[in-house]
Symmetry: C2
């Protein structure tokens, strides 16, 4: 059932005050969809936050936590502000540790303090530890509730332990074996435990952990590792190799999705990853205006080039006919190269020192593309302006496609070398650079071939 | 350890013929990295396919299968061609059902037949079923080895069953309950089984399956569902609601990654998702040339516009100064809008009927952006050409930004309505359209304000 139909049904049940039917409805639909429908109804002010909070209290606690977890952080915050301290504390006690830390940092200091005060000191310090990690770090996305075993447990004891913590632990499918210093020794999957002799020790059946990540690394490193090594969860260690958390595959999927969006949007010079439908006009204006204005000033270089060659243009106005075509072609070829390279750098398929190797190949590819496009455009040149113009546009096309491609493939390398995000080598930026270079190449070639005295 | 260091170490061990050390090395490194290092060595012709095949035979069969699975399909195919039929059959018998079907379709018909002949008829028909699904469908990415239970099993019997199939089943963490017609009844997680009373029946503890997917749906639907609902695996049913397979989270991650790459590359008008470093010059030429040449012809419209206004240009050469700037700005604003919209449509955040609603907002945002950019550019206009030129470029800027944005946001809707991929609304395409429209707007405004007689 589509969420928009669910929204209508929920609204109808709400208007008729049929609470029992509403609970049945929630029972029969995926919680993620229910949360989406409620968010929709909240946005349209058909439901108030109090309505949703009250409905939550009617659900079994476990389901309440799960449903609440599917709301966006913004809605979680607004809902939390309408709950009494007891409901909120109950909820946060059972929420995944990473999600509740995210939520608490969003709350008013007063409310935050109320919730923290009601927690026992261990939970409190856990939250304080989690919120201290920088935003893009592994620490900010990991969870601190994971299953820990000792190497001298028997398989039977291990199963017993996992059974007892199953309800409040995010995953029991992967358990971690640590020594008395909390240092990571190995890992055991529930699958391994289930198929092993109950009397064996965990130390005997565990596998060495070959893949882990430091808590201060970038989240994308964790997400990429989980995807590459097909992991359910990735252990996270601190500087002393002590196990401090795990990143689960579902969090890794969210990180990867956000990263892909960010890349995509950077490639169009707009840095926005929220919900497009909910974003205000003012927000979208702010997200877009910076790059657009900056690129206007970048285009001054093209203008300056044109100004420099005004006499040539005056004498051969037909040259203007080919101007958009030639400068666009350089930009298009450059955008292709930049996009391919940004992605190859992001996946680690290509690294910094490969630049020289890639350059030679890029020149060959661009050379071939340039020949093809020069042939296409020279026919237009013949038709529009005669053989001399045809020669000018063909030579220019060949050069701008090579230059554009080389700039496009190199810029991501340069940015990454300078510790900027390679994805900032966006199509509009490449276009602007290719335009300026293209104008100068075009009119220089024209001036030479059409036998003008050099302009000043 | 980085893969390039691993490559060097493996090469050193290979040259010194130290097979025992090589096996130890494989034992101590993640198999995904080993496969990457071997692929590198194969590409550089430091290892032959026979070397790798021979090494594989020295590994325990389970490890052999896992390592082989981390090679790309291209390398799997080349390696398979060097194996004797017995080694290949052993391997394929234990491979995940989806991966072995992919591999077999790549093999020479003769070799393919040899392998199929050695399999028992059930396995053979499983493969034949899997390879019959269209390339982008759920069927082509699902696996057919999943854990099935009956509702009248006790928890204890269910555990027994899962234990017995654990080795050859891709995941036992999620088991599916079907009736005697293979119709999906419910699902039980291993976690549920582990924490439940052994004497309860599966029917008692199973949960209703609310989320499943049809085998002929697009793979992206499955990947999105797994991410949205945080699933480990998604059940796949045929037209009669019979369970025919599952899609696991790791396959969903691969699908999502490929889709993100595809989007990213479409946005730059280049359709390539392979390994950039391994791709040949010829392949890259073919992947890039089509769009580039097509866009050259698209640019003819800009040229035609310019030709139409040649007299205006001749009289006011200063106008050419602002040409790249104005047409680029329309294209840049349009690329931003298109990128935001393509992503919103892909995630389902925005649907077809939202177009009208989004249009009004887009005009407001673009109006504000246009004003800002018009102010910036009019100052340049004053400086370069006086108040009349300033007025022309300011008005043109305002119009092209609005037109560019509206085209950029609408094109993905139009493409999706026409059943094309909205992601084809690439930056270069938008740029080309915005250029042509921009040229006409610019010189029309100029002709009006600078008080020319209309040209023919």
């Amino acid at each position: 059932m589509s969420v928009s139909i669910m929204t209508q049904e929920l609204l109808a049940l709400h208007i008729s005050h049929n609470q029992a039917a509403m609970l049945r409805f929630i029972d029969q639909h995926p919680l993620a969809d229910c949360a989406e429908a409620f968010s929709q109804l909240l946005t349209e002010r058909q439901f108030t936050e109090q309505d949703v909070c009250q409905l939550l209290t009617l659900l079994p606690l476990e389901k309440q936590v799960a449903l609440f977890g599917y709301f966006s952080l913004t809605w979680q915050e607004k809902l939390a502000e309408q709950m009494d301290a007891q409901q909120l504390t109950q909820l946060t006690e059972l929420m995944p540790h990473d999600e509740r830390a995210d939520l608490l940092t969003q709350l008013e200091p007063e409310l935050q303090q109320q919730v923290l005060d009601q927690m026992d000191s261990e939970e409190r310090s856990d939250i304080q530890r989690l919120v201290a990690y920088p935003e893009e770090s592994v620490g900010a996305v990991m969870t601190s509730d994971f299953a820990v075993l000792a190497a001298d447990y028997t398989v039977e004891q291990a199963m017993q332990k996992l059974r007892s913590i199953a309800k409040q632990t995010e995953t029991i499918y992967q358990a971690y074996v640590v020594d008395d210093q909390q240092r990571l020794q190995g890992t055991v999957s529930l699958r391994d435990l289930v198929i092993s002799e109950p009397s064996l020790t965990v130390g005997k059946i565990m596998t060495r952990v070959l893949i882990f990540v430091r808590v201060d690394e970038d989240q994308n490193v964790a997400a990429q590792a989980i995807s590459k090594y097909d992991l359910l969860a990735l252990p996270v260690v601190d500087g002393q190799n002590r196990l401090v958390g795990i990143v689960t595959y579902d969090d890794a999927m969210d990180v990867a999705e956000e990263e892909a969006d960010r890349h995509m949007h950077k490639s169009a010079a707009v840095d926005f990853t929220g919900n497009l439908k909910e974003a205000s006009v003012g927000l979208m204006y702010r997200k877009r205006v910076f790059w657009l204005v900056l690129l206007v000033f970048g285009n001054l270089f093209s203008g300056a080039g044109i100004a420099h060659f005004e006499d040539t243009i005056q004498a051969y106005v037909a040259l203007v006919f080919f101007l958009p075509l030639l400068i666009d072609s350089g930009g298009n070829a450059g955008s292709q190269s930049a996009t391919l390279m940004v992605r190859a750098l992001a996946t680690g398929e290509v690294i910094g020192k490969d630049w020289a190797k890639m350059l030679g190949r890029e020149v060959m590819i661009a050379g071939l593309l340039g020949v093809t496009m020069a042939v296409a455009v020279s026919m237009l040149g013949l038709w529009r302006g005669g053989p001399e113009i045809a020669l000018v546009v063909a030579i220019t096309m060949q050069i701008v496609v090579i230059v554009g491609s080389v700039v496009g493939m190199s810029l991501p390398f340069v940015l990454s070398k300078l510790k900027f995000d390679p994805a900032s080598a966006s199509a509009p930026l490449i276009t602007t650079i290719a335009d300026a270079v293209g104008v100068i190449i075009y009119f220089s070639v024209a001036t030479m071939i059409l036998d003008f005295p050099p302009t000043v």
